[in-house]
């Protein structure tokens, strides 16, 4: 198996695996990160969303061989329990999750939106998250959390 050098949340690591291995499994199993979730493996639901070079990407269909020299960021890379990103804090403040399985993907998709559109409208948020599925029905709280974070980002 070939070696791939990956840079995730600022940490570099060499991983031996096949070229077509989805980034998701490397993140979860080699980097031991819990943020990106397996849900569909077909880029249909957004639970595995991470950032590659600052852009939202579906790690379940991103082969490791495509990542040479690129920086990968997961939910763990944007904030921690002690020092949360405004989006993470806003999701807590709005209690914007029931089971929480979609949360990581939601936050990473929302971060991509706020990075390009710091003050999004309700419709812009809904459109940006339309490819991320939530099965518990927490959508409206998630939209409010993103709005709240947008305010917090401005004030920060």
């Amino acid at each position: 198996m070939p070696d791939y050098i990956l840079r995730v949340n600022g940490t570099q690591r060499t991983v031996s695996t096949d070229a077509d291995t989805p980034l998701l499994y490397v993140l979860r199993n080699d980097f031991e990160l819990n943020g990106p979730k397996y849900s569909c493996g077909m880029a249909q639901c957004g639970a595995c969303t991470v950032h590659i070079e600052g852009r939202a990407a579906r790690s379940c269909v991103t082969p490791v061989s495509s990542l040479a020299g690129k920086a990968v960021t997961t939910l763990e890379g944007i904030g921690t329990l002690d020092k949360m990103h405004p989006l993470q804090k806003a999701f807590l403040d709005e209690q914007a999750a029931q089971c929480g399985y979609c949360t990581s993907g939601m936050i990473m998709a929302a971060k991509a939106l706020l990075d390009s559109t710091p003050k999004p409208s309700d419709a812009q948020i809904r459109n940006a998250l339309a490819g991320n599925l939530c099965r518990c029905g927490s959508h409206n709280r998630i939209v409010r959390a993103v709005q709240r974070a947008a305010g917090a980002v401005k004030g920060a």
């Binding site: 198996m1 695996t17 096949d18 291995t21 989805p22 499994y25 979860r28 199993n29 031991e32 990160l33 819990n34 943020g35 979730k37 397996y38 849900s39 569909c40 493996g41 077909m42 249909q44 639901c45 639970a47 997961t74 939910l75 763990e76 904030g79 921690t80 329990l81 949360m84 993470q88 999701f91 807590l92 209690q95 999750a97 029931q98 089971c99 929480g100 399985y101 979609c102 949360t103 990581s104 936050i107 948020i125 809904r126 459109n127 998250l129 339309a130 490819g131 991320n132 599925l133 939530c134 099965r135 518990c136 029905g137 927490s138 959508h139 409206n140 709280r141 998630i142 939209v143």
Partner: protein
């Protein structure tokens, strides 16, 4: 598992050691010979099975219920904090573990606050009383003169803490329930919007789910299921797959086929190779689709029963108008966002299984049967999975992992279902037919009501008592443990007939069930069981009858409803939504109302829905306003979130969802085949709570699903003048109605 943030180290610590300093009494034997105790105490009577005072200034409470995204552990911790008089932060809660917690059966039916919450209220009140009595003796001060604040017992000038006095108090005895829980006025944490315990880990990538477990030496597993329900395996090239990189074990037993590998992507490739080489015998034995499905269901052999019947003392004379309608609901999927998974380890003849099953105790019994071992050799520990909304693949994945763990030489294996495993093999909510008939007298009041149901079973979960097994792994073995035919759940909760008995006061009524036990398509408990479809029919039909009577839907409901709590939520929802009596839709927008008390036992809920129907016949729910009476409110935000989520999920079922199949195979395999609501489909939702502090708390987890579907159906009828009766209300169905 506790809900507090679990680091990897904690996971290992907690799962590797079984602390048994408290008593797990056998549940049923004791219950049969003893007087009833409140809630879950009745079957788990030992006090130390529920509450423990720790030496490090904390308390631990135990529950047999589990967190499934509904926030239950937070609500139970609130109850314990108030009854014990300790800060909420001091409460650790341990849930659903066959080695450690009370056996409270399934976490299902919106019963956790009612059963486990009631048990904890009484157990913690008793623990507090015993601690005070001991302190009273030590301090030589009468109990009545003692007060408690955050575990500190004081009677000026003397003072002593729970943690000091606890060593002199033994909870190793049966609870008596003689210490009354606190009155509402003394609640400090109950009734407050305490933030969920489990969310900080979930927003930061902490360890939260069984999918996140990593054990030393752990392998990755995949199962290779047959291509259709009753396919049989003829041949498979196991040797070629064993030679693949990283493959550690290939297990074949009858039609059960699974693989374990060092790396997850290796397990996936090995499973693909196994699937490619496997030869199966299949028969086309699935029912037809579309409306033909319902004709087929009606013709299947059924157990017929009268669920409820009422005959008037004085039948009214005069002219009678009879109205009839038939409603249908297809097979619908749970569609958990995270496919089912489990971790299992087999060592020295003993199995440890970490599972997101809703019932670790019943699962243990089924696993023992499938694994051909004794219950004592199986420990099941609940660890969260994605929201399940009923009986999905959780139990099956646990069995798959345990079967595979037999072949890995003691190494633990995490077995993860793929998306198509979940969609194809999860047990669906049953297709159903509801045939309704009502009679109006000359005064335009309902004098007779009939509700006739055709349905497959709604509960084929593992059960501790049955002879058979309800896990796929058990069915697929060379020496299989087949399922037994499940009975329909009895009234008043019912199962296929859940909420078919109207809460309205009709002089004559007749509720009939045709229970079709043969299941060509696998079915089981989907959130609300039959209530979603029965409330859809009941509350749609009462609107049809109101229309025939020339009455306003709200007034017509109230006219037939004496129950004051039911009336209150109907009136509040109508008021908050701005209901205008007799308002007509304009062809493209409309409004509808519906009501149910879930199971006729849990929370009362009314929903008013506003819809639009656009030129492409696409229905959009723009707004939903709900009013809820759940008795004593433990956590208002928790209730609002459950009701709101229920409305949104129900709206998704109602407008979009149906499982597809041809005559041989399930063809719903991915989200592309089974679209659900996305952000642009979701309505604005308002939830208004009526607190009833002197009433017991009522379950809310399934309260809004039924009212939501019927409110949407009534709104479509109000908008278009045509009645939708065949779920889901996709554009093609709406077009057929209106053209």
């Amino acid at each position: 598992m506790t809900t507090h943030t679990l680091s990897r180290r904690q996971f290992l610590k907690r799962t590797g050691v079984i602390v048994s300093t408290f008593t797990l009494a056998g549940p049923t034997a004791i219950a049969q010979q003893s007087t009833p105790l409140p809630g879950g105490l009745s079957n788990n009577r030992m006090l130390d099975g529920w509450v423990r005072i720790n030496s490090n200034n904390t308390v631990t409470v135990f529950t047999g219920k589990c967190e499934i995204g509904q926030g239950i552990l937070t609500a139970l911790a609130q109850i314990a904090a108030d009854e014990l008089d300790v800060a909420y932060e001091r409460v650790e809660i341990i849930s659903a573990d066959t080695a450690r917690t009370p056996n409270e059966g399934m976490t299902a039916g919106s019963l956790s606050v009612e059963n486990s919450g009631t048990a904890l209220r009484f157990a913690c009140a008793e623990a507090r009383g015993m601690l005070l009595a001991a302190a009273s003796r030590k301090l030589n001060v009468a109990v009545e003169k003692l007060s408690v604040a955050d575990g500190a017992i004081s009677a000026t000038p003397v003072r002593m803490t729970y943690w000091e006095v606890a060593k002199d108090v033994s909870f190793k005895r049966e609870a008596t329930a003689t210490f009354k829980p606190k009155p509402v006025a003394q609640h400090k944490v109950i009734g407050k919007n305490v933030p969920r315990l489990d969310l900080p880990a979930k927003v930061t990538g902490g360890t939260a789910y069984v999918q996140d477990m990593r054990l030393p030496g752990m392998l990755f597993g995949r199962v290779v299921r047959p291509p259709s329900y009753r396919a049989t395996l003829q041949s498979v090239d196991e040797a070629a797959v064993r030679a693949m990189p990283g493959v550690v074990a290939v297990t074949r037993d009858g039609n059960f086929l699974a693989v374990a590998a060092e790396r997850e992507e290796q397990a996936i490739k090995a499973a693909q190779a196994l699937r490619a080489s496997a030869k199966w015998n299949e028969t086309p034995d699935l029912p037809p689709s579309g409306l033909a499905l319902y004709d087929h269901l009606k013709k299947m052999p059924a157990r017929d029963s009268v669920i409820n019947t009422k005959t008037p003392v004085n039948a009214s004379g005069g002219k009678i108008t009879t109205i009839e309608a038939e409603y249908t609901r297809p097979f619908q999927a749970h569609g958990a966002l995270g496919p089912s998974a489990a971790v299992a380890q087999f060592q020295d003849g003993k199995y440890q299984v970490w599972t997101h099953s809703q019932g670790v105790f019943p699962l243990r019994t089924d696993l023992a049967k499938a694994l051909k071992t004794t219950v004592a050799n199986v420990t099941c520990t609940h660890v969260e999975g994605a929201g399940c909304y009923g009986h999905n693949g959780a139990d099956d994945a646990a069995c798959d992992a345990a079967l595979l763990a037999r072949a890995t030489n003691g190494r633990p294996v995490k077995l993860q279902w793929m998306r198509d495993d979940e969609f194809v093999w999860e047990p669906y909510g049953s297709a159903m037919i509801m045939k309704m008939q009502a009679q109006l007298d000359e005064a335009k009041n309902i004098v007779s009501w009939q509700h006739e149901i055709w349905s497959h079973p709604h509960n084929t979960r593992p059960t501790s008592n049955a002879a058979g097994s309800f896990v796929l792994g058990g069915w697929h073995l060379a020496n299989p443990v087949p399922p037994v035919v499940p009975n329909n759940g009895p009234q008043p909760a019912g199962a296929a007939d859940r909420n078919a008995v109207p809460l309205y006061d009709f002089p004559r009524q007749n509720i009939l069930l045709h229970y079709v036990t043969d299941m060509p398509v696998r079915t089981s408990a989907l959130r609300t069981l039959g209530a979603y479809a029965n409330v859809f029919a009941l509350e749609s039909f009462i609107d049809e009858v109101a229309l025939a009577a020339g009455a306003d839907p709200v007034e017509f409901r109230l006219r037939h409803m004496k129950n004051p709590r039911a009336r209150a939520v109907i009136e509040l929802a109508a008021q908050k939504a701005g209901w205008k009596p007799g308002a007509k839709g304009n062809g493209t927008s409309g409004r509808g109302i519906a009501f149910a008390q879930y199971k006729n036992l849990a929370c009362y809920c009314a929903v008013v829905a506003d819809v639009t129907v656009d030129r492409t016949d696409n229905v959009r729910v723009t707004r939903a306003v709900s009013a809820v009476d759940a008795g004593l409110i433990i956590n208002p935000e928790g209730i609002i979130h459950q009701i709101e989520g229920g409305i949104i999920q129900s709206a998704s079922w109602t407008l979009k969802e149906q499982v597809k199949f041809d005559r041989q195979r399930i063809t719903t395999r991915s989200w592309a085949d089974y679209p659900i609501f996305t952000f642009n489909d979701v309505p604005a939702v308002e939830v208004h709570l009526i607190n009833m502090p002197n009433e017991r708390p009522l379950g809310t987890g399934e309260g809004s699903q039924g009212p939501a579907v019927a409110a949407i159906a009534n709104a479509i009828a109000n908008a278009t003048g045509k009645r939708p009766r065949d779920l889901p209300f996709t554009p093609d169905k709406v077009r057929a109605l209106t053209s």
